[in-house]
Symmetry: D2
């Protein structure tokens, strides 16, 4: 069977013939891959920019892919909640032995002793078939979601970060006089799939959302913004006060953007860090530290998400499909066959928001 494979430490990815999954263990499920998504991390792996990538133990190569959607082919003897024909999203990160991992929160792993499918220590989902433990498979109850369900994995990151925000916001007890979030403004920087999903989750929870990106080649960001009901700007046309909001979401990883947000955010404001990058810098001054104190600012990073966030992500997908019938479909801008994906794994083509690979 085919799989897309990298060699950690080297640049490039190849599609090649790889081993079929072995005989099923009692808690395992045999799966046929339907779709996989491509994200910045995949490109970081393929271009060998990420230090933490590693193959499974005793291997040199790593099967790529952590955004997956698959169909159940066969179930082990002790699998109770899945049957052939079911559609599932596999979880990326698998727990180690720390306290957070022991309560299902490997997204908050305390010691780094976890593995991540397609990233570190575990083969990923860019292959025709694979076997996995039932406990790491999220059932997609509504199969009519089709390829939209491949958005579950990126969206679960956003659902977690949003939940962390609502938890941290309790430091202020009450947010708006009418009990809603309607008086609060959000700015999202970076309109890749993650930034887009952040804009959507805040907008459907009644925040006033503005978002920006460097450009919008195909006009997709503007189109989705219109449907969902938020404002989109390219950097050239941004209002001057775009950094002055109650919540700032950075989906760029750019220190300059983060620094401007720290400066611009309102009293009692929040800066959510999700983007990662390797370049750039910003001068953190004593004046800025003083401002963060005087303004009761909260800044937080958030990575990955737990099983509960995968499940909630599926709920959001259903909700959005009903509310904005075309928005999620527009967000998946490109679809490749496995063979066609290789070149697109090296460099993000212009205008892409989310690219997926269709298997079989």
């Amino acid at each position: 069977m085919k799989g897309i494979v990298v060699t950690p430490g080297k640049v490039g990815a190849v599609i090649k013939d790889i081993e079929e999954p072995g005989p099923l263990k009692p808690h395992q499920v045999l799966l046929k891959t339907l779709y996989t998504g491509i994200c910045g991390t995949d490109r970081g792996i393929v271009t060998n920019m990420l230090g933490f990538v590693r193959p499974p133990p005793d291997a040199q190569e790593l099967v790529l892919g952590h955004e997956g959607l698959a169909e159940v082919l066969e179930v082990g003897d002790e699998v109770s909640g899945l049957r052939p024909g079911d559609m599932v999203v596999p979880m990326v990160r698998r727990p180690g032995g720390c306290l957070q991992c022991s309560i299902g929160r490997q997204d908050n792993c305390e010691d780094g002793d976890f593995v991540e499918a397609g990233i570190r220590g575990l083969n990923g989902f860019m292959r025709e078939r694979f076997a996995d433990e039932e406990q790491y498979l999220i059932k997609v109850e509504d199969k009519s979601l089709g390829r939209l369900a491949v958005l579950t994995e990126p969206l679960k990151n956003v659902v977690k970060a949003y939940e962390v925000y609502t938890t941290l916001a309790k430091r202020f007890g009450v947010l708006c006089k009418d009990s809603t979030y309607g008086c609060k403004s959000v700015t999202v920087a970076g309109m890749g799939p993650i930034g887009m999903l952040f804009a959507m989750i805040f907008a459907t929870n009644e925040f006033n959302v503005r978002a920006f990106d460097i450009h919008d080649t195909r006009g997709t960001a503007a189109g989705i913004a219109k449907q969902v009901g938020f404002e989109f700007f390219t950097v050239d046309g941004m209002p001057e006060d775009i950094m002055k909001s109650d919540v700032f979401v950075d989906a760029t990883g750019n220190p300059g953007v983060v620094g401007s947000a720290l400066n611009g955010v309102k009293r009692n404001g929040f800066v959510i860090l999700f983007g990662t990058s390797s370049g750039g810098e910003y001068k953190l001054t004593g004046e800025l530290v003083t401002q963060l104190v005087e303004k009761n600012t909260t800044v937080f990073g958030s990575v990955d998400g737990a099983k509960e966030h995968y499940l909630e992500a599926l709920n959001y997908i259903s909700m959005w499909r009903d509310m904005f019938p075309h928005a999620l479909d527009m967000l998946i801008t490109d679809e490749d066959k496995p063979e066609g994906a290789i070149t697109n794994l090296i460099k993000k083509p212009q205008g892409e928001i989310k690219r997926v690979i269709r298997w079989g």
Copy 2:
């Protein structure tokens, strides 16, 4: 009567004859000042380093002093909870009209429309007598606390920041396997009164606390640390891993310290910003931003405190007086008469932790 007075916009403070408080309004209380504390903000005002200082409306001069302890001399007709002879701590910040102010949380004021006694728009407590509204006076039930009660004001800042920490820490659900904070480490940078009180509050809530400062001229910090049960280091003798803790408290405002803390803090860690300063800088890089994301880091500023925090501060003072009979007394390293305070308001003498002025 005597008062210590500054002219915002100019360097220096003078002790001079000022006006007695006018006739009492129904909700007002006439007070005789017992003690006032001196803090970095006072010195910032006197040396004209702080941009936000302003006199009361229609005045040029400002009576200094926001850390106060006073005795009730007389009460207005509609005062119900105070009687002559009672001991009180007056609140610093007074509310404006925003939502947070309307629920008693002017420490979280949303629009900056507040006044602060001795700092902006309202005369302070460094004068022999003053009148104030009952609602802004915290009764000290136990008069035997004496001058220790002047620590209520700085401590309320620490109590608030600690409460914010415990609220934000809920993003991780569970902290240690035995239900306590005993597995968590805290590093405090800066052993002025605020840093010292942070070390004390974390230590008495079972965290493992380490603290450091540039030096410890009189050995007071080391002495208190020993009594309270935390570790103190001067920067020369610091362990290499001092920045690697679960919680880092910055009471210096130094961007270099803050930057090192952001780099060093453990997974799921917190950096608490309380210190303010005008100098220094630190390079915020893409690598650091990425780390904050990957490590689920939370950074927050916290300023001032609400009435509830003043009350809780008094509870901590009682608790600590019983637990560490000498620690709080040691923390008040110096006591001046009003006349003697003027020179010490310009420059912090070596070895001082908290200096107070005794009135009358």
Copy 3:
């Protein structure tokens, strides 16, 4: 224009010609009623069983109806968020002067000084047209929801109660080992619209839900249960352990059911009280009190909901319309014209879950 009118203190309701709304004030909106729902409270009013019903000041009669859906005909000069043609759900309860009311939480009013449209002190929505303040109107962004949006009002009660549950459940820190609610069981007593919506909200948040009612004349409850994915039983066919769950929702108000739930609920369990009634009784014994202590039981009542819950209710309606295309439509079992509603307002016909009135 037509309206359905009661005289508080007397049995019966009439449809009659009533006054048109007066000239619009600047913050008001003129509305054309599309649908109103009928619930148990309406029948309690019509049969004069509820002590708290009262007409508007200086009136003898009260226009009935608190579950509404309307179309904007015209807006006042200072209305900024609504335009003619928009679809809205009007809020039932309007604030008094207490602290909770001042933060938009009149659902948690502390002193009872509120009014409720169609119930106490304010005319309701069972009339062809009415004028209302913009701030009490919830915009239905997706007009394609049609009459389903009339479920917003009852659902907002359920959304609030569910949110209260999740807040109170924090007393246990962690619920299931996999971070979800998947290990928790819920029993819902009473399959009227409220019980049905409780079953739906718990089921879509991954709880294992069982529900029961005395009977299910038309089989609607069983049909919806099958679609949504919970178990439904009539009392004759209930499993013996139906009372042994982690969460028990009482939508009956029957003290016998509540008492059995208090007895049956598991350790760390919750009993949610939403149903109200005037009859029945249950012996609260010392043994039962002891059990509630030993088992860390939480029992709570919840009434009404805030603006945030109306908004979230609309999100759930969209989500459910996508997930279970027919379930909500099945829940609206009956639709009357205003004239036809009068007899059905006296007595609930067999097999009804939610009955609505179509206006115009």
Copy 4:
């Protein structure tokens, strides 16, 4: 050595010669008992009124005593935090295998699979010496607390219940306009040690506390109330509105008292159940259920406490010793030698609040 021993299933307790603890295991500590407290549960065991009492596996007899204070005599090889001469309070409940037990919250055990020293499945502390695991021993840092530290165990129950209250109270977001609890009233029923400690914890957190009991033979309750600053009434002299409070704490277990509290508690009120009993009953009616709904009432039971609550209890003891120098000493009304305790274990003598036994 001497120990006080019961035979579960039979009435009575004897003091007799029992076996010395065996050789120390690496994580164990050899302890010399200083004080043990006597509480209602002990009397329930001695009079054979409690169904759940059981001896250790393979034993017929049970050493009584779960409120202990002891001195370290010797430590095992792997004990790191205790040394001979240290003073400790041993924990009562020891974990089983459920999720709550695995995070140090055996007080919230989900399946009942725990043991409790002196109550079920584990010998207690009413003996001259015993060995215990370091992890279940709470170090008393301040040895000057002396016998007051024996109050740690009952107080940890109260600390937990108070913490649960503050968690559940978040359902209302904001409590008083000035950010404190000063606008809230509390009524405590039953002035045994638990009720007394509840009154103290609420009073020192700024609530307005009233408390009542059937009588106050020696005037101790009135004396402590005066010092601490709450109001005490005997049932004959109670104000009519004593049941109308924001928080009601039942420390009686009497269904009549609980029922009156459910009826009387204000809107948004809380009823805390801690007392247990075997007699009495109260009619739970439909009207009362309706009230609990309409008034957003919360009722909760709370049992035991976790390690964090033992530690916080010690903090409260220090705080109270400083604030109310005689109150805690007055609360320990009686002190017996082991031999003298036997008759007092059968029946509570009049006027007793807390009785302790002094060992060695």
